[in-house]
Symmetry: none
Subunit: 406 residues, 2 copies
């Protein structure tokens, strides 16, 4: 099992409560004038007070140089090796649009494409349509696929738009296998491939998918520029061992955006709310504190403002988080962790590979500075650490791990 590096059988059945606050895209790059990152430039009295009572460090989200999407970024924070936890691009796409994947679902990445009247591929990406045009085509597809496709008993089809020419199809039926040939021929002027089974076990999936794709072609055939779909990147979602089984944690997620609830559900967390404001999120956290061992609170704004390329707005979003952080600290959980799932430097206006500050506040912290920021955390007690190891530290600080060996 892909995992935090904890020897078997160390997890105790009880222990302290852990609150993990993820300030999405927290890490940044220095402003050319001040030399301070967004977090360092922000006035954060509450985070600084926490830092003074915390072990500090920097988390490497995935591996050196690797820029994670939110899926891998969060899986790592939850103690799963994001390089070994193969969720499949289709599944990640489904998660990315907030779809609630179930174990056994076959997720398929779709290209919305332009096909000519003979069914040959004219443009594999339909001229990279706008999100609006892409979404409209997906809605026609979704409506059309409700009828006219014969599915096994209990079978279901879902289609979700992702971005521009990208969408994801989810087939839910018993016994699906993902060893299928891509229908995307990777070139133009030829017809799409049939989704042939590349293993006898995938015959059923091949038959169903062929039917779905035939029907999709009918639905879209008169569209312009989107007149067909190409399928690639199949993945049957295996399901993951949850936090309960792996770490003995009853978990709950408090997140305003569906993607993050999706990743939390993947690892077996329950969902509270969802809240409609950060204040409501803190209130939900307080109300459920006694009911769960592990509380994941997700805050999107620093990533969004970073992606806008707006340094000052990202600073302001961190200052806003600092204000409600006072309420989180006042709940006095046994372990309070604040970090991000990756960096989103305003200078790059995009996720990046740079390491992310982390604080772990508990009775057992080894503090090293009185501020929370890249410079302080770089010199902290935890050093630079792959994010997948964070969970073991949470468990340790919560008194949830036995001694290893005699």
């Amino acid at each position: 099992m892909p995992s935090a590096r904890i020897p078997d059988d160390l997890v105790k059945s009880g222990g302290g409560r852990i609150v993990l606050v993820v300030l999405d895209g927290l890490g940044g790059l220095p402003h050319p004038e001040s030399g301070l990152t967004e977090l360092e430039a922000a006035r954060t009295p509450n985070l600084d007070a926490l830092a003074a009572r915390s072990s500090l460090g920097m988390l490497l989200p995935v591996a050196p140089g690797v820029t994670p999407g939110s899926g891998p970024g969060h899986l790592a924070l939850f103690g799963y090796d994001p390089l070994e936890t193969v969720i499949g691009r289709g599944a990640l796409s489904a998660l990315g649009v907030g779809f609630e994947l179930e174990a056994g679902d076959l997720a398929v990445r779709l290209n919305l494409a332009t096909l000519d009247e003979e069914g040959r591929v004219v443009d594999r990406r339909a001229g990279r349509p706008s999100d609006e045009v892409g979404r409209a085509a997906v809605e026609r597809l979704r409506d059309g696929l409700r009828e006219g496709v014969e599915l096994p008993e209990g079978g279901e089809i879902f289609v979700e738009h992702e971005k521009e020419h990208r969408a994801v199809l989810i087939l839910r039926a018993p016994g699906l296998d993902d060893r299928l040939r891509d229908t995307d021929p990777q070139t133009e002027g030829v017809e799409p491939n049939a989704p042939e089974a590349q293993d006898p076990a995938a015959e059923d999936a091949s038959r169903i998918l062929a039917r779905v794709l035939r029907r999709a072609r009918e639905i879209l055939s008169d569209g312009d520029p989107i007149s067909g779909v190409l399928a690639r990147g199949y993945a049957v979602h295996q399901g993951l061992k949850g936090l309960d089984e792996r770490f003995g944690l009853r978990g709950v997620a408090i997140a305003r955006y569906p993607m993050y609830r999706g990743v939390a559900r993947l690892v077996g967390m329950e969902i509270a709310g969802p809240p409609s404001s950060d204040e409501e999120a803190v209130e939900l956290l307080g109300r459920g504190l006694e009911d769960y061992d592990f509380h994941f609170l997700h805050h999107k704004a620093p990533d969004a403002r970073g992606e806008d390329g707006d340094f000052d707005a990202k600073v302001a979003s961190i200052e806003a988080a600092d204000r409600w952080m006072e309420g989180v600290a006042a709940l006095e959980p046994d372990v309070l962790v604040v970090t991000g799932d990756h960096s989103t430097p305003a200078a790059m206006a995009y996720h990046s590979w740079h390491s992310v500050p982390v604080l772990i506040q508990s009775r057992w912290a080894r503090p090293s500075a009185k501020t929370f920021g890249e410079t302080a955390c770089r010199a902290g007690d935890l050093g630079i650490l792959e994010a997948r190891h964070l969970m073991a530290l949470c468990l340790a600080h919560a008194g949830r791990l036995e001694k290893f060996g005699a």
Copy 2:
């Protein structure tokens, strides 16, 4: 494939230009009087100015405590795990003497040995001859092997002297296999073993090698102290996936010494020059800047002066490098990396296992100090990092990696 830890399919087809300057043996140990290492004692205004705009860190060449030769040291810098990239001792020996190995070549490490008239081993190392004596024997061998050995069509034999009693034999012929018995009996007073095939696939190689060794014995039989050879450490060179295939990089090496051109060629780089001075090396770099994505510039002097055990001369060699570094920086590559392949502390007069300072200068750096040296780099943003991860960081800073996952 042994590798930097980059998930599949993240490498883009384009991006910024990367210049990697290797100051061989850069890392050092503090002088007992000043407490400064060679790099810290050197006046390096250009490197310091670069450092102020760079992410800093320390590279661990192979693994804690492991002192690398130049082969593994450079393979790591190029993104190959030096512990998993088994090139074979014979192949490394061939590289070490600047031999241009091709895929399929069978490299064999030879001991120059003393045998008695009955062909029994008297001294497995021929009394550890001087380099001069060893080299002379290898030259006789090379001349003699030109004739009198029947080889398959297109077959070739090469012999290169390595050091003292060590040499390397390279057989080039189709279909060679390295599952052969060592002829070195590892003891004295007995005859060498026959190079028996230990797998049916190695029968051809066994027959050819037996002929070569019989002829070698004839050539050397009247020599003193070197009157024969013992073979061990066979390796058919598999070839490595090159930088192009793995990282989408068209690479070029600018190196005055053959060993470094050899390692670069191994990973598919082209060779510029070779230059006859450092100034010419910088000029070559500038002239080819547009033609390649990845430029490897090798500078030998700090290692050589370190091996001399001469602290001041090593300091001077680093100061000399700093002078031409101004010209490198003036080229303004998108990513400029300066590091070493290992430490060569003058106090040890030898390669060592100690970590090596590294700077990565790009638009996306997170600077932390205004000087380049062990003390500054230790507190840098990159932390202490295995050298094999450097390439992923180079690619990231050059904008050459896609985001991982949704």
